[in-house]
């Protein structure tokens, strides 16, 4: 079974993976499932998003439905159909 989520990427990550990606994922899915799909889009670019162990770099901000997801195991956060998952690098506004 597959379900859809919407992935959004900003700034450098938008350039690497695209701004908005409608993704069909094998279900049940976690944030890690999204990372695997992003690797298919840009295998070389993934190194800017994850560390050598495949976990999101600490500098990467992850949001699900516009809520910041914190904690060491945030890649294992389960997804619900229709979720909006956003990735962005450290901010530099103002």
């Amino acid at each position: 079974m597959k379900e859809s989520v919407r992935v959004r990427a900003f700034a450098r990550f938008r350039e690497l993976f695209g701004g908005t990606i409608e993704m069909d994922l094998p279900w049940p899915a976690t944030v890690r499932s999204v990372i695997r799909e992003l690797e298919k889009i840009n295998p070389a670019g993934l190194a800017e998003l994850v560390d050598n162990e495949g976990n999101l770099k600490k500098s990467v901000i992850l949001m699900i439905n516009r809520e910041r997801i914190m904690g060491p195991a945030r890649e294992d956060c389960p997804l619900r159909p229709g979720d909006e998952i956003a990735f962005y690098p450290p901010v530099a506004g103002g």
């Binding site: 450290p90 530099a92 506004g93």
Partner: protein
Amino acid sequence: MIQITGEDFDPGAFIEGARKRGTGAVVSFLGIVRDDGIERMEVEAFEEVARSDLSVIAGEAMEKFQVQHVDIIHRVGSLRVGENIVLIVVGAGHRKAAFLACEYIIDRIKEYVPIWKKEYANGESRWVRGDHAGEVTGKSERKKLVRQ
């Protein structure tokens, strides 16, 4: 007023708008594209989240420093040297609270709100380094400059 806009704005109009009964001080901060040898910059935002974050920060400043009025206007899009990037206007009974609130707001914007800048010069571009990971993970890794 909290606004993320592709249009320029008139700082004077916002400063005038901050006057209320009981206002004794209006402090403003205007961020401008500096001539660091660049031709222009692109400002990008996760607009829905940025707008919401700016509202929260304005509310925090009003409560923390007991100020009466806060405007935050942030541009997005392509900006040339000398153009306005961000305006913060704080109205308060006394100057100290207005200064402190204004500084608090710009500091919080720089460390938390999803907005990024990319600078263009001599056919090259680079993302302005963000030193903060939005206070999500504590220490942040410094993002390396990307040249294209």
